[in-house]
Point group: C2
Chain length 701, copies 2
C-alpha cells in the first residue's frame, strides 16, 4: 500500500524527459515528442485527432470511430443510461445490450456528446473586465464577461461554448463544441465483464475488463456524419510503442499552492472520504431490500465506491511525507526564484499569503457551504428529484435576470445541457429517492447542528425520514411535463406551486445561495485572482512549456506501452483472455457472464486483453481512445493503476500508468462472443457496418 515515489516536478526544467502532461491542443510539445520518440505531430495531425475526440458532457471521454457517428466509450460511462433503459423485467446492465439494426438503437435520456471545434484565447478580455476588482466585484465582472463571451459564441443550440479557466486563472480559453443531444445506445457488454473484478480490482493491474460501450450520435433523427474519426489499427499496439491519449481529464491539483494542498489533506479530503464511506454503506444496506432496489442503485454504488477508492489513493499521496515534501520543495523553488527580483517579489509573493488566508476563510464556511450548497449540485446529494426541484426554483428566479448577472448554472450558454437533464425521461425510483433525501437531511442536521437556523427552517418539527417520505410521495416532479410547466412558468409558477419537493427547495434556497455567495466572493475569487498572479510568475520563470491543471477540457498526452516495477516485481504491460479465465471464480465480482463461459473454446485465449501505458491521465479520461502515430485506435482507456491516483498532485513516470482495453480484445469479443459483426464491420470501415443497412448485419447474426 505504501507509495514509493520519486516525484517528477511540474516545473518545466524537470519535465523534459518524462511522458508527463495533459497538454492543451493549442500548446502541444511536438518537438519534445519528436526528441524522445522520433515522431512529430503536425498541426494537421493534431486537428484530425482533436476532431475525432469526443466528450460525454456528464463526465467522460470518447472518440468517433466511424463516419456514421459511432462513438466508443467505456461501459461505466454509459452505465447510468443502460440502467435508465432497463426495467425490472429487462436488465441490460446485467445482460448487456446489442442493437442488431440501426432501428434498435435506443436514445439515452441524459447523454450529451461534444466535439471540440475551436479554441480561442480570451485571456485579454477576461483580464480587462476584471482588472482591479476584488472579491464580489471580481466575481461579478468575471461572470458577466464569461456569459457575454459564451453568448456571442453560441450562435446556435447545436453549439456549446465554454470559457475555461486555465492555469487556475493564468489563461482563459473559449472552447467551442458541436453538441449532440440525440445519442443512442448501440452496444454494451454485461456489467460482469465490463467491470470484472469489481471494486477489489478497480485501479488495479493486471486486469481483465471489457469496459466498453458504443453509442451513436444522431442529427435530425439520422446518424450524424462524422468524417473526422479514428481508424482501427489492424495490428494493435506492442510494448514500447508510442501511444497518444486524447481526452478530457476532469481535474488535477498540480498547481495548487501548499496552503491549498494542506487544506485538502487535512480538512476536505478526510471529510469527503467519510461522507462517501457512509453513503457507500447506506446504499449497500439499501440493496439488501431486494433485487429491484439493487438494480436501481447499482450505478450510484459504483460511482460511490469508485470515488472512495480514487479519493483514498489521492489522500494516501497527500499524506505521504516524501510526496508532500516534494510539493513543498517545488513551491519553495518558485518562491526563491520570484524573490530574486524585488519587483516580482512585491507583485507575486503576497498572492501566496492571500490564498492561504482564503483557505482559513474556507474552513469557517466549509461545512455549511458543502452541505447546503455544493453537494446539491453535481453529486445530487438529496437525490435526483431534489436536484431537479432546486434547479426549477433557482432557474425561475435566475432566468429573469440579465444573462451576465445570473448564477453561472443559468447562463444562456449553460441552459441546453441543463434542460436536457431536467427534462430527462429517465425513471426515478421513489424508495431510493427517499433514502437519499433523508440521508441529506440527516447529515445537514448532524454537521450543522440541530439548532442551526437553516436546519431548523428545513426540518421544522419533522424528522428527516418523515420529510423524505411525504415529500417524495407527494411530488409531481417524476412527471416530465410537470417539470416543464414549472420551468416555463418561471418564478411565478414556482411561487404558486404547492408541490412539496418544490416547497423544500424553496425553503433551503436562500441559505444555500447566501453561503455560495460567501464562498464565491471570499474564497473562489481570491484563489482565482491570486492563482492568476502565480501563473504569471510561473510563466516568467519557466516559460510557456508547461500545461495547465486538468479542467475537463480536451487534452492530449503522449507515452508508450510499458509495464512497471513494484518492489522487486515486474508488472508486464499486457494481459490475455487466458488470464481472465484463470482469475474467474464464478462469484461476483469475479464471475464471468454466461456468454464468456460459453465462448471459452471459440475465442483465441492468447488475445491481448488489457494493457498499460505511461500516458498521463486522470479521472474524466475514462473512455479516451489510445491511438498510434497514424491516428489508429489501439486501445480504450478505462482506468489508471493505483499509483496513478497521486497523479492528481504530480506525475511519476516510474509507476503512474494508464490502463486500457486492447483493440484486439474488442474485436475478438465483439466478433466471437457477441456476434456483433455490424459493429466490427463498421469499425473496420466496411460498408455493411453502417446503420440503416440492417439486412446485412442481421444476416451476419
Amino acid at each position: 500500500m505504501k507509495r514509493l515515489i520519486t516525484l517528477l516536478l511540474v516545473a518545466a526544467p524537470f519535465l523534459a524527459t518524462a511522458d508527463e502532461g495533459m497538454w492543451t491542443y493549442d500548446n502541444f510539445p511536438s518537438s519534445r515528442v519528436a526528441k524522445k520518440y522520433g515522431f512529430t505531430p503536425t498541426p494537421a495531425w493534431l486537428e484530425q485527432a482533436r476532431l475525432a475526440s469526443a466528450r460525454l458532457a456528464g463526465g467522460c471521454s470518447a472518440s468517433f470511430v466511424s463516419e456514421d457517428g459511432l462513438v466508443m466509450t467505456n461501459h461505466h460511462c454509459a452505465h447510468e443510461c443502460i440502467e435508465q433503459l432497463s426495467t425490472a423485467q429487462k436488465d441490460f446492465v446485467k445482460d448487456g445490450f446489442y442493437a442488431k439494426t440501426g432501428a434498435d438503437e435506443v436514445k439515452c435520456p441524459e447523454i450529451e456528446v461534444n466535439q471540440l471545434l475551436a479554441i480561442t484565447d480570451v485571456t485579454a478580455r477576461i483580464q480587462k473586465a476584471t482588472a482591479g476588482a476584488e472579491g464580489a466585484r471580481f466575481t461579478a465582472a468575471f461572470q458577466a464577461e464569461k456569459a457575454a463571451l459564451e453568448r456571442e459564441c453560441q450562435t446556435d443550440a447545436s453549439l456549446r461554448c465554454e470559457v475555461v479557466t486555465l492555469y487556475h486563472g493564468g489563461e482563459y480559453g473559449l472552447y467551442r463544441y458541436r453538441r449532440f443531444q440525440d445519442v443512442r445506445l448501440v452496444f454494451a457488454p454485461e456489467f460482469a465483464i465490463a467491470f470484472f473484478g469489481g471494486d477489489p480490482d478497480n485501479f488495479m493491474f493486471p486486469r481483465y475488463d471489457l469496459d466498453v460501450s458504443f453509442l451513436r450520435v444522431y442529427d435530425g433523427g439520422k446518424p450524424a456524419k462524422t468524417p473526422n474519426h479514428f481508424r482501427w489499427s489492424p495490428a494493435g499496439a506492442k510494448a514500447g510503442e508510442l501511444t497518444f491519449v486524447s481526452g478530457h481529464p476532469g481535474r488535477t491539483d498540480r498547481l495548487l499552492t501548499i496552503a491549498q494542498l494542506k487544506e485538502l489533506r487535512d480538512f476536505s479530503m478526510p471529510d469527503i472520504l467519510q461522507r462517501l464511506a457512509e453513503e457507500r454503506g447506506l446504499i449497500s444496506g439499501f440493496q439488501l431490500l431486494g433485487p429491484e432496489q439493487k438494480r436501481v442503485s447499482t450505478a450510484r454504488l459504483f460511482y460511490t465506491e469508485n470515488s472512495v477508492k480514487a479519493r483514498r489513493g489521492m489522500f494516501d499521496a497527500l499524506r505521504d511525507p516524501a510526496f508532500f515534501g516534494q510539493k513543498v520543495k517545488e513551491e519553495e523553488a518558485l518562491r526563491a526564484r520570484i524573490s530574486k527580483d524585488p519587483a516580482k517579489a512585491r507583485r507575486y509573493l503576497p498572492a501566496f499569503d492571500a490564498i492561504a488566508k482564503a483557505q482559513a476563510r474556507y474552513e469557517q464556511i466549509r461545512r455549511p457551504y458543502t452541505w447546503l450548497e455544493a453537494l446539491g449540485g453535481r453529486p445530487r446529494i438529496g437525490g435526483d428529484l431534489f436536484w431537479i426541484a432546486r434547479h426549477l426554483v433557482r432557474g425561475g428566479e435566475e432566468r429573469a435576470k440579465p444573462d451576465g448577472e445570473r448564477l453561472s448554472d443559468y447562463h444562456q450558454s449553460a441552459l441546453p445541457a441543463l434542460e436536457q437533464e431536467l427534462f430527462s425521461a429517465a425513471p426515478v425510483n421513489l424508495d431510493f429517492e427517499k433514502l437519499r433525501l433523508a440521508f441529506w437531511l440527516t447529515k445537514v442536521r448532524e454537521l450543522l447542528g440541530a439548532d442551526h437556523p437553516a436546519v431548523k427552517k428545513l426540518l421544522g418539527k419533522e424528522s428527516p425520514d418523515e420529510i423524505a417520505q411525504h415529500v417524495v410521495d407527494g411530488t409531481q416532479l417524476r412527471d416530465v411535463a410537470a417539470r416543464r410547466k414549472l420551468w416555463d412558468g418561471g418564478a411565478a409558477a414556482i411561487a404558486a406551486s404547492a408541490d412539496p419537493m418544490v416547497a423544500l427547495a424553496r425553503l433551503s434556497d436562500a441559505d444555500a445561495r447566501a453561503i455560495r455567495k460567501v464562498y464565491e466572493d471570499e474564497v473562489e475569487a481570491v484563489e482565482k485572482k491570486n492563482q492568476g498572479l502565480i501563473a504569471e510568475a510561473r510563466f516568467a520563470a519557466y516559460g510557456r512549456s508547461t500545461y495547465p491543471d486538468a479542467t475537463f477540457t480536451l487534452r492530449l498526452s503522449y507515452g508508450q506501452v510499458k509495464g512497471w516495477r513494484e518492489g522487486d516485481r515486474e508488472i508486464a504491460p499486457f494481459t490475455t483472455f487466458a488470464g481472465g479465465y484463470e482469475r474467474a471464480t464464478g462469484r461476483d465480482p469475479f464471475a464471468l457472464p454466461p456468454s464468456w463461459i460459453t465462448a471459452r473454446d471459440h475465442v483465441e485465449l492468447a488475445t491481448p486483453f488489457d494493457f498499460v501505458t505511461t500516458n498521463d491521465i486522470i479521472g474524466g479520461n475514462s473512455g479516451s481512445p489510445v491511438f498510434d502515430k497514424d491516428l489508429q485506435i489501439v486501445g480504450l482507456v478505462f482506468d489508471g493503476n493505483i499509483l496513478s491516483l497521486g497523479g492528481d498532485y504530480g506525475f511519476d513516470e516510474a509507476v503512474n500508468r494508464t490502463v486500457a482495453v486492447d483493440s484486439r480484445a474488442l474485436i475478438e469479443a465483439l466478433s466471437k462472443i457477441y456476434g456483433a459483426t455490424r459493429i466490427v464491420d463498421e469499425l473496420r470501415g466496411a460498408p455493411s457496418g453502417a446503420p440503416g443497412r440492417a439486412a446485412a448485419a442481421t444476416g451476419a447474426q
Copy 2:
C-alpha cells in the same frame, strides 16, 4: 464548529490553577483542591470514594448507591443488556424496564461490575524483569511478569487483578478489584428519554436526557452487601459548588509524543472515521429491512454513531493548527529542558526518535494489523459469533502454554471475564451476524487487496456474502453448550471441529497472530520502553505532581458546576424539565415517551434536568457519580460537551465540560413518572427500598 482553544498544558508548571487531571487515587492532589476550593480530601475520604465507585468491565463507570448492592450507571452503559433481555414481543429498550420487586430483577448476560479494593505500585518488579530487553524480548519479559503478578494477586475468582501501565510505561500499578458477575437489571427508562435528542444532541448542551439505569450486584444469589456506597444529596448541586467525579476514563493521549500524535492525525484517525462512517451507513441501511432488524441493531448503531461523533471531535482538535501547535510547544519545552543536561540528553532524547521510527514501522503494517487482528478484538468487526470462534480457537492453543507465555487475553487472570462473555446467553441475530461478517470480509479484501495471501486463504473462490451466509447458517456457536464443549475440549476439540465458523477462525488465525507479533515487538514494545524513559524525564523535570493518561482505571477529578462562554453566548449550567418539554417535537429523536407526555402536568417543570461541570473526564467516565465534599450524589455523568472531545489530547478549562443528569431530575422522574418508589426509597436509605421486601414497593405502585 471551529474550536477556540487556549490549551492548558499538561506539564505541571501550568497545571496549578486549572481543574485539570484524571488523578489516580494514590496520587490525588488534595492540597491543590484545598487551595482552590477550601476543602481537603483526607485519606479516609478518598478510601470511601474509591470503594463506593464501580466499573462496568465492558467499558463504563458506575457507583454503589445503597448498602444492598444497588448500582447506578447510564442507560447507554446497560443498553446492550436491555436489548439482550428484549424480544420481538417485548422491547425494553423502547418501553423501559422496572423490576417492581427484587424477584423481578433480571440477570444481564454480559455485565461484570468491579470495585477497586487496592492499588500496589509494581514498577520495580516490571522494570527489573524487562531491564535491558528490547523488542520481542521486552514483550515476552513484560507479559510473563505481568501474568505472574496478576496470578499471585488473584487468589480467588471473586477477585480481578490487573497490571496497569501508567504514564505509558513510567509506572506500573497492580489493581485489585472485587468482581461481581451476577449483575441484574433493576430499572431503565425508555430509550427515547435516556437518549433524547439522539445523535444530533449527543455531546451537545443544553441537554435534556435521563440517561440512567440501575443495576444490582448479587452474591450467592442474593443482593450483595455494599456498606461503602454514596449517599444521596437532599439538595442537589448549585452553580459554583465543588464537585468530584470518580470513574474510569478509558483512554487519553495527552502524553503522546508529537510523532505519535501525527500518526493519529494523519493516518489512524481519518481511516478509523471512514470505517465507522461506512459501518454506520450499512447498519442504517440494514435497519430498513424491518422493525426486528432495527431492534437488534440499535445498540450497535448507537455505539457506532457515538464513536463517529467522538472521534470527529478528537480529529477536529488534532487538525486545529493552534491546538496542535500547543502540543508541539509542550514537547519542545520538555526537550529543551532535557537538553540542558548532557547526561539526560543522552539518556532521553533518543527515546523520541525511537518512537518516531516505531510510527513509520506501524504505517507499514497498519492496514493488515488493523483488519486481520485488532478489529477482531473489542470492536468485534466480524460479528459476535466470529469473535467467539476466534477466542475458542486461540484459547485452545494458548491455555495449553504456561501462563506467562500466553497471549495476554488468555492469562489466567483474564479468563473469568472472557468466559463470561464467551458463554453469554445473549441472543444472536443471524441476519445481523451475516451483515457484519460479510462487511469484515469485504473490507479485508478491499484494504489488503484481492491478491494478498491472507485474503486468498480466507476467501478462496467464494464471495464475502456467500461465506457469511453459509458460515453463519452452519455454525453451532449460537448454542452456549456447544461453545463450552469446544472451550473445555481445548486444541484437540478445535482441530476436530467441523463447525464452519470455527474453520473460518482457524483459517485466519496464523496470519492474524503473525501480524500481531510484529506489532507487539516492533511497535508496542518500542513505544512502551521509550515512553517509560520519557516519563522518567518528565518526572525529573516536573516532579510527581502530574497524572497519567487515562487507562480505564479508577481516577478522581475535581471541578465545579459552571457554564461556559461560546463566542458571545453564555451557556448556563443547568437545564430544566420545562426546557425538555419545549425542545420536544414528537418526532424521533426529539419525541418524548408517552410516560413523560402523560406526566407533564404532574411533574415540577422547574426541576433541574441536566447540568455541566468543569471536571476533567473522557469516554469511559459514562455512568460516573458526581458527588459533593460530603460524598453525596448530586449527579450522574453521561457525556462531555463537544469541546471536551479535544480532551483526549489536552484539557481546556474554559470550554471543556462534563455533562450530567441532576440528582433532583432522577428523583423527580423515578417518583412522579415511573412510580419507582422502591428505588427512591432505597436511594434515600429508607428500609422499604431494599429488595426482598417487595410488598411495600408494590403497594406504592
